[in-house]
């Protein structure tokens, strides 16, 4: 999955972090445009929860919001690690080969989670405190699958991509809780200015390619 851009939006809808990772249409927008995009996403997210069809709302209890754990999303492959001669990755205040190793339940039940267009796909991960992590990927989920099963394939690959994105964004959340929350020079709800956070996010995005 090739991630183009990562955005972090605080609970009031303000953009606190934005980084482009490759030359693409996204980098033609300036920072002001991104501020506008962030607040638009924030509002559309809220509207989406109201738009859920009544029929689906009634079956809400039966929907499983569990996201399975997909190992080593965004982590350096062990081959690379051994080559560098540093077998133990330092994960800040987390220990072990990965930030977490279980499946988890998504907090985002009725809001917007994924937006697929013919140019890009956007994934949103919202935390219980209202913080939103948005990833824009250049992978396009194709709408045409000519197989015997027809549309089933599309759902499967879309599901997998969505799970990978959720796993990935939760790890970005872990990195955020380390390098931004534990920084005494960061004021809450303000734009993030930490280069270590930047570096870690860039590493993870590169590992995802």
């Amino acid at each position: 999955m090739a991630i183009e851009t990562i955005l972090i939006i605080n609970k009031s809808g303000g953009l606190i972090y934005h980084r482009n990772f490759s030359e693409s249409f996204a980098s033609k927008l300036n920072s002001n445009d991104f501020l506008i995009i962030a607040s638009t996403i924030h509002s559309v997210f809220a509207i989406a929860s109201q738009v859920t069809p009544k029929a689906l709302q009634l079956t809400q209890n039966k929907v499983d919001y569990t996201i399975p754990y997909i190992p080593m999303v965004g982590m350096e492959s062990s081959a690379n690690q051994n080559n560098r001669g540093n077998p133990e990755m330092k994960l800040g205040s987390y220990k072990g080969p990965d930030y977490f190793r279980e499946s988890f339940v998504s907090w985002n039940k009725s809001g917007l989670r994924q937006l697929s267009t013919d140019q890009f796909t956007m994934y949103i991960y919202q935390t219980m405190t209202g913080l939103k992590f948005v990833a824009l990927s250049s992978n396009v989920l194709s709408s045409h699958h000519t197989t015997a099963n027809g549309t089933v394939d599309k759902t499967k690959s879309a599901n997998l991509a969505s799970q990978v994105a959720d796993n990935f964004l939760r790890k970005i959340y872990c990195v955020y809780s380390d390098y931004v929350m534990k920084d005494p020079f960061y004021s809450m709800e303000m734009p993030i200015k930490s280069e270590t956070f930047d570096k870690k996010v860039k590493e993870m995005v590169n590992n995802l390619l």
Binding site: Y94, E102, S103, K109, Q114, M128, T129, T155, S177
Partner: protein, 213 residues
């Protein structure tokens, strides 16, 4: 807009390898979750350094505020509050526990998971109020107050570990639970137990992030 509408199984070799049930779900108790995260997934550091650092902070505060213990208690609470609003993000990123339905569940998460993951202690939950919205946490072996003895004047006015109350208040407020958190008794002051009372005032319904229900 695609959402998984069925349980994902047999998707590909990648999913659910070595994962087990989600944390806090039916498959795993909160206690097992907390223990597992403490043992395998957190970096640790010498607790005595923690105790000594906190001691340096409190004694410096005593000097700065000229032993006005009411102000020192407030300052400790405020510092704890600032820590709490950040600590909740760390806790949620680490455990990804779903929202608690009621205070009973909240008390379990706090005592079995949160304290275990951060401080490696397991306080007990006691003294439930009639409407199940207030409870007390009884803490044994508080790492902040190891080897600490209060001088006579502080014994009457200072809540040494008041930072814990601030942390709890800040963290709960970020998950939209407005609570009153305060010390009831403290071993350092000569009481039998160290007890913190947590009382829910109201759920901040309008601040619950959209999309959660």
């Amino acid at each position: 807009m695609s959402r998984p509408v069925s349980t994902i199984s047999g998707q590909s070799g990648l999913s659910s390898s070595g994962s087990g049930a989600p944390l806090g779900g039916q498959g795993r108790s909160l206690k097992a979750t907390g223990d597992d995260i403490w043992k395998n997934k957190t970096e640790k550091i010498n607790a005595e350094l923690f105790t000594l650092t906190y001691g340096a902070i409190v004694s410096q505060l005593c000097e700065d505020y000229d032993r006005d213990f009411a102000k020192i208690n407030d300052q400790l609470f405020q510092m704890g509050y600032n820590i709490g609003v950040r600590l909740i993000e760390d806790f949620l990123a680490r455990t990804a526990l779903p929202r608690c339905e009621d205070m009973v569940r909240t008390s379990e998460v706090i005592s079995k998971c949160a304290f275990k993951v951060f401080l490696n202690i397991s306080p007990k939950v006691t003294n439930w109020s009639a409407n199940k919205e207030a409870f007390s946490l009884v803490i044994n072996d508080n790492p902040l107050s190891d080897f600490v003895e209060l001088p006579m004047d502080a014994m009457k006015g200072l809540w040494y570990s008041n930072v814990l109350c601030g942390v709890l208040k800040g963290a709960l407020e970020m998950v939209q639970l407005d609570c009153d958190v305060a010390f009831v008794s403290d071993i350092l002051r000569g009481d039998q137990l160290t007890e913190i009372k947590i009382k829910l005032n109201r759920v901040l319904k309008d601040e619950i992030p959209i999309g959660e229900d």
